[in-house]
Amino acid sequence: MSLAKITQVKALALAVPGDDIDTDRIIPARFLRCVTFDGLGEHAFRDERTGPDGKERAHPMNSAQAARIAAAKQGVMVVGFNFGCGSSREHAPQSIWRFGFTALVGGSFAEIFFGNSTALGVPCLTLSKDDLAELSDFVQKNPDVEVTVDVENLKVSAGAKTWKADIAASARNSLINGKWDPIADLLEGASDVAKTAGGLAYVAGK
C-alpha cells in the first residue's frame, strides 16, 4: 500500500472561528445512522449552516469561499482551540475531508479527532494564540490568497507572512513519510504481537 507523502498543503483557506467546537456540531448524530462514510461531506456543520426553519444561516461553510474549496477538493480550515472535542466519531473528520478540506490549522485539537484526521492524511497543525488570530484575520480579508501548511518545516505561510507551527512529531513523521495510515506498520509487527499476547494471562484465557 503506497500512500502520498504529505509534506505540505497549499490551498485556499476558510476561517471557522470559535473554541470548543464539538463533534456533534461538526456532524450531528442523525448523520451517523449509516454503514459507510459516503455522502458525509455535504452534511459537515449541517445544523450550524441550516436553521430549524430550513433556511441557510450566516456561517463560513455557506460562503462562496467554502464552495470554491468544495469544488477544488482541497482547502485549509482555520479553527480555534479544542476543535473536535466530544465524541470519537470519525464521521467528523471524514465529513470535513469529504467536503474538501485537506489540512486544518488551529489553536489545539481534541486528541481523538487529531488521531482520526492524521489517519486520513489530514494534517492538523497548531499555532500560538496570537499567530492564530493573525492568520484567521488574514484569511478572512484575503480569500484569494493560498495558505501553505508546511508539515515538513513546521510553518504556515500566507502572502508575505510566515508563522511557526507545530504538530506531534509522530504525526509529522507519518505524514511526510507517507505512513499516515498505520496499518502496514502494525501488520509488520505480527510476530512481536504474538509474543506480547502470549505474556498476557487474560488474553491467553486465564
Binding site: 456540531r25 470519537s88 482520526n116 512529531a169 509522530s170 513523521n173 507519518s174 509487527g189 487474560y202
Partner: protein
C-alpha cells in the same frame, strides 16, 4: 522505580516501537457497537484482512436501538440495517455479540463490567469516547476512531503515544444529596474542557476509596468531557469483589493468581505524577451546567456567571451559550423551567442510580408539564430493577419506563427533544443539538437532581425537594 498504573499497563502491552516514534500497543479487550464498526469491517474486507483475535472483541448494540419498540423490523429502516450489519459482521468473523434477544444487551460501557470482561491491568479500546468508563476497574481504556477499530480488528494493536498522568485527589465525605456526578462536573468546571488534553486522569483519595465501582464509573466516564482520553481508579478489594462470579471473570482455579496480578498494577507509593490536583469533597455541592460545554457549570445555588468576569475566549463561548440556552448572565439557574427529564446513559443509567432515585420518588408525581423517561443502561439493569419493583415506583410517579440503550443522551434513536425543549439530563454532554433537536437545550445534573426537576417542573435543589 515506582510507577503509575498507566505506566505499568502501558509497558505490559507494548509490542514495539514504530518507525514514526509511536508505540505499537496491544489491545487486550476490544468492544464494538453498531455505529462506529460497520465501516471498519468494510475496510477490513477491502484490504482482504481477517480479524486477528476474534475472541478478544465483544459486540453489543446500543446507540440506535429504540427504547419503546422492542420488535423488529424497527420503524427506522436505517437502524434495522445497522443492527443487521453488526449481526452479519459478528457472525462472519466469529465475534461474541450481546444482541437484543440475549437479555444481556445494553450500553457497551455497561455490558463490559456486567459480564466481567472489564478487568484491572488491561487495555480496552472501543469506537466510543466514553470508553474511559472502564478505567473505574483500573484498566487503561479509551475511545478510538473507526480506522483504529479496523486496526484493532486486523492486528489487535494500535499506534499510540503515551499520555502524561495527572493525579486528581478528592478527599473527605460528600454531603448528603451530592453524588459522583457532581464530583466529575466539579472537576471539569475547575480544570476546563480541554484541561486534560495529553493526560490520563488518575482519580484517587478517600472519596474515591469509599466510592462503589458504579460511582467510580460515573466519574471515569466523563474524563473525556474534561479533555482526558482516559481516566482510571487504582483497583482494590471492591474492584475484585465486583468482578467475582461474573460470566467472563477468571474461574476458581485462576482467581487468586488473577487478583495478585491485578493488585500488582496499582500505582506504587511514591511514584511520580506529571501533575497533581487536590479537592475536598465537603466543598462540592450539587452541580448543574448552564451552557453548551460540560465545563460551563455552577453549584445549584449559584448565579450564572457575568460576562465581564470571563476572559475573552470564554466570553465568546458563554455569549453563544446564553443565546442558545435562552438564559441570562448573573441570574440564578434555579427556577428555570424544564420540559423533559431524562434519566439514563452510560454516565448514570446503572442500578445504583435507579435505586437512589427510587428511594426518594415513592409517593411523588412528575409535574404535568414534564415528559419524564427512565432508560436503564442495560437489559440486566432493567431486569434487576423490575425484580426490585423499581419500575413500578418510576411509573407510579409518572416516568415512562423504557428498554435499554443510549437513548436521549445522543438521540440517534427516536428519543429526541422537540424544538427548544429544555431537558434535565443525567447524561454527559450538553452540546448544541446533542439531544436530537437543533434548538434543544440540555442541563446536565445528577440522577436525583433530574428527579427533582421532573417533579417540580424546574431546575431545583434536590436536597430541598426530597429533604435529603
Amino acid at each position: 522505580m515506582a510507577k503509575t498504573l498507566f505506566q505499568k499497563v502501558w509497558e505490559a502491552h507494548t509490542v514495539r516501537q514504530l518507525p514514526n516514534g509511536q508505540t505499537q500497543l496491544f489491545i487486550g479487550t476490544h468492544l464494538i457497537h453498531e455505529v462506529t464498526s460497520p465501516q471498519a469491517f468494510g475496510m477490513l474486507r477491502d484490504l482482504g484482512l481477517k480479524v486477528k483475535f476474534p475472541q478478544r472483541t465483544f459486540a453489543t448494540v446500543d446507540h440506535i436501538v429504540p427504547t419503546n419498540e422492542l420488535k423488529e423490523p424497527y420503524s427506522d429502516p436505517i437502524a434495522q440495517e445497522m443492527i443487521e450489519a453488526l449481526r452479519k459482521n459478528t457472525k462472519d468473523y466469529g465475534i461474541k455479540f450481546f444482541d437484543t434477544t440475549t437479555g444481556q444487551q445494553g450500553i457497551v460501557h455497561m455490558v463490559g463490567p456486567e459480564q466481567g470482561i472489564t478487568q484491572p491491568g488491561t487495555t480496552i479500546a472501543c469506537g466510543d469516547s466514553h470508553t474511559a468508563t472502564h478505567g473505574a476497574f483500573g484498566a487503561i481504556a479509551f475511545g478510538i476512531g473507526t480506522t483504529q477499530v479496523r486496526d484493532v480488528l486486523a492486528t489487535q494493536t494500535l499506534a499510540l503515544s503515551p499520555l502524561k498522568v495527572r493525579r486528581i485527589e478528592v478527599n473527605g465525605k460528600l454531603k448528603p444529596g451530592v453524588y459522583a456526578k457532581d464530583v466529575i462536573l466539579h472537576i471539569i468546571r475547575e480544570l476546563g474542557v480541554n484541561g486534560g488534553i495529553g493526560f490520563a486522569y488518575e482519580y484517587a483519595g478517600t472519596t474515591f476509596d469509599n466510592f462503589s465501582l458504579e460511582e467510580r464509573m460515573t466519574v471515569c466516564n466523563m474524563s473525556i468531557e474534561g479533555g482526558a482520553r482516559c481516566g482510571y481508579v487504582n483497583p482494590d478489594q471492591k474492584t475484585f469483589d465486583y468482578i467475582k462470579g461474573k460470566p467472563f471473570a477468571p474461574k476458581a482455579a485462576d482467581w487468586d493468581a488473577a487478583v495478585a496480578r491485578w493488585k500488582s498494577f496499582a500505582s506504587d507509593a511514591g511514584c511520580k505524577y506529571d501533575d497533581v490536583k487536590v479537592y475536598q469533597a465537603e466543598n462540592i455541592r450539587p452541580t448543574v451546567t448552564w451552557g453548551i460545554t460540560p465545563g460551563q457549570a455552577i453549584f445549584i445555588d449559584e448565579k450564572m456567571p457575568a460576562l465581564e468576569t470571563l476572559n475573552a475566549a470564554d466570553r465568546q463561548t458563554a455569549e453563544d451559550a446564553y443565546k442558545h440556552m435562552k438564559l441570562s448572565p448573573s441570574t440564578p439557574i434555579k427556577g428555570t423551567k424544564v420540559d423533559v427529564a431524562f434519566l439514563g446513559s452510560c454516565t448514570n443509567g446503572r442500578i445504583s442510580d435507579l435505586r437512589e432515585v427510587a428511594k426518594y420518588l415513592k409517593g411523588r408525581k412528575v409535574s404535568a408539564s414534564v415528559k419524564a423517561i427512565v432508560v436503564p443502561g442495560s437489559q440486566l439493569t432493567a431486569i434487576q430493577a423490575v425484580h426490585e419493583g423499581l419500575d413500578k415506583i418510576f411509573t407510579d410517579a409518572g416516568f415512562e419506563w423504557r428498554g435499554a440503550g443510549c437513548s436521549m443522551c445522543l438521540a440517534m434513536n427516536p428519543d429526541k427533544l422537540v424544538g427548544d425543549q429544555l431537558c434535565a439530563s443525567s447524561s454527559n454532554r450538553n452540546f448544541k443539538g446533542r439531544q436530537g433537536s437543533q434548538t434543544g437545550r440540555t442541563i446536565l445534573m445528577s440522577p436525583l437532581m433530574v428527579a427533582a426537576a421532573a417533579i417540580t417542573g424546574e431546575v431545583t435543589d434536590a436536597r430541598e425537594v426530597f429533604k435529603v
